[in-house]
Amino acid sequence: MTFWLLLTANSVTFGGLLFLLAAGFSLIFGLMRIPNLTHGSLFMIGAYFGATFAGGMLGTMFNFWVAALMSAVLVALFGAAIERLLLRQLPGQPLAQVLVTLGISFMVADFCLMVWGGDPIAVATPPELVGFVRAGPLVFPLYRIAVIGIAAVVAIALWLLLDRTRLGAMIRAGVDDPEMARVVGIRVSQLFTIVFALGAGLAAFAGVIGGPILSVYPGLDQYMLPLALVVVILGGSGSLVGSIVGSLVIGFIYNFGQALLPELAYFVLFLPMLLVLLLRPQGLFGRFVP
């Protein structure tokens, strides 16, 4: 019984982490209609930045949360630069844009290998969250509960942003009908930069938050990208609810799969995606078929 409860709690934590990663991926996909193949790399480089700042590799030890925010801002700027300088060169050519993001992902991966080397870097859990929560027979790390809380806060913040602000309304208009949004005077191309930066920042933030759980190592990008892809195919692109539901479903399937069928965990993960593709190509909550 404890085993199952623990597995469930771990699944929710992993789902929360996936949500932080996939929410940006989904928004970018929804608005720009391209799967951003650098998203795993942004997650990884964010995690490396966080480990560098929080681990005192630059001389000063930053507070974990400050390090996470700094990393998010840095990577958001990097994302904005990618969008402004490269993707902007290829308007209306989604295929070429995807290939550019693929190329950048290789460069980022190699850059990380060059700077931080091939050994995994462990990220220390912030001291205020070290410890365990006891609930009857269940012992669960405090940090993992905090991750669930952070994911929930980010989800609410994103919902407020998308549902209650003018910017959010503009983004939703861009997702639903980019041409019409342009016609009514929304500068959709400016939205592209904003959303790309936002998604990149969120991915980097997720990378730092995930650091104490996953640690940082070369290949983390290729480990996370397919997960984000599956979440978005499952949940539907450009939909916040879709990202939440998709992340939780994938979190559960992945953790249960790893515990019960370790050799086939990766395979089991993709089964729901295939089912969705066959039965509901736009995803569970999606607004368009990619």
């Binding site: 799967p35 060169q89 290829l90 693929l102 290789f106 460069m107 993960l269 593709l277 990619p290």
Partner: protein
């Protein structure tokens, strides 16, 4: 026309003479690599160039074929059986790929093939009881067609060359065939083709199978060349490398994927001897080609050549008109 035939003949002679004018086993091996990667790229080009379907999961197909060959050989079967099993499984895997991914085109097709490739990578990596995980599967020995041993680099090169020429001829015939023309029709005007009564899905499906067959053939050569197969051969980087071959050379041309394979293999095996950062360079070439020369090296050079030719012609025309 005769100039073209002479050019073909010279190229053929040069290809046959490679082991004589290139010294050193290492470079003959590089030439073999170029040839089997060119077959792989020709196979992917059928989808990317002629069908307009960009696949990011072709390394998974290569992996299935290579693992099938390795596993069958390990189980104690002969080379003929192993090759047949590998080819059949490779094409069957492509058929499954096609059924799943042809539900979409464009970005959707990329995403589904990417996911399928990652599934196969995950299986190869995790399903240790079958694939050996990270340790991979070792092969022992190469087949001996007609009693000729392929153990020496130049013998293997000639075997690869024969297969390559057959594959190239097959693709050339396919592209000029009615099916090839119909395939390009489905790339440019799928709805119109549908209205004309063509079965767009079926045409794409057959193209997928041909692409899968070429991939499987190159996979067999690959696995006999390296004598080893591990998950690294089928990760996303491997799929991206082949795609880079097709796109850098020029998608939708016969020569393009071959030039691309040449470029990538040479850069990879020669340059990586000097600098460690192969992936950085791969990414940079990718970005540069997509932004600066999206049509690829072969059509791009031809366009520049024609431009220069026309300019020169105009100039000489003026020069003649003056006196």
């Amino acid at each position: 026309m005769s100039a073209r035939i002479i050019a073909y003949a010279i190229t053929l002679v040069a290809l046959i003479a490679v082991p004589y004018w290139i010294s050193g086993d290492y470079y003959i091996n590089v030439a073999s690599q170029i040839l089997f990667y060119a077959i792989f790229a020709l196979g992917l080009n059928i989808l990317v160039g002629y069908a307009g379907l960009v696949s990011l999961g072709h390394a998974g197909l290569l992996g299935i074929t290579a693992y099938a060959a390795g596993y069958t050989l390990q189980a104690g079967f002969g080379h003929t059986t192993a090759i047949l099993v590998a080819l059949v499984l490779g094409v069957a895997a492509m058929a499954i790929y096609a059924v799943l991914s042809l539900r979409a085109t464009g970005i959707g097709f990329i995403m589904i093939t990417l996911a399928l490739g990652e599934i196969i990578w995950g299986l190869a990596y995790r399903w240790i009881s079958i694939t050996g995980g990270d340790n991979g599967i070792n092969l022992h020995g190469r087949p001996e067609p007609f009693g000729i041993s392929l153990d020496s680099p130049s013998a293997f090169y000639y075997a690869t060359l024969v297969v390559f020429l057959v594959a190239l001829a097959a693709v050339a015939v396919f592209v000029r065939s009615p099916l090839g023309a119909a395939l390009m029709g489905t790339r440019d005007q799928p709805r119109r083709m549908n209205a004309l009564g063509y079965h767009v899905w079926a045409i794409r499906f057959w193209a997928c199978l041909l692409s899968g067959l070429l991939t499987a053939i190159s996979a067999v050569l690959f696995v006999y060349y390296t004598q080893f197969i591990s998950p690294q051969a089928l990760d996303l980087t491997a799929s991206a490398e082949v795609l880079l071959m097709v796109i850098s050379g020029g998608a939708g041309t016969l020569l393009g994927p071959i030039v691309g394979a040449c470029l990538v293999v040479v850069v990879k095996s020669v340059v990586s001897g000097y600098i460690e950062r192969w992936n950085m360079l791969l990414g940079a070439i990718f970005v540069a080609i997509v932004i600066l020369m999206p049509e690829g090296l072969v059509p791009g050079t031809m366009r520049l050549w024609r431009l220069a030719w026309r300019k020169a012609e105009r100039r000489s025309g003026k020069a003649e008109a003056k006196p």
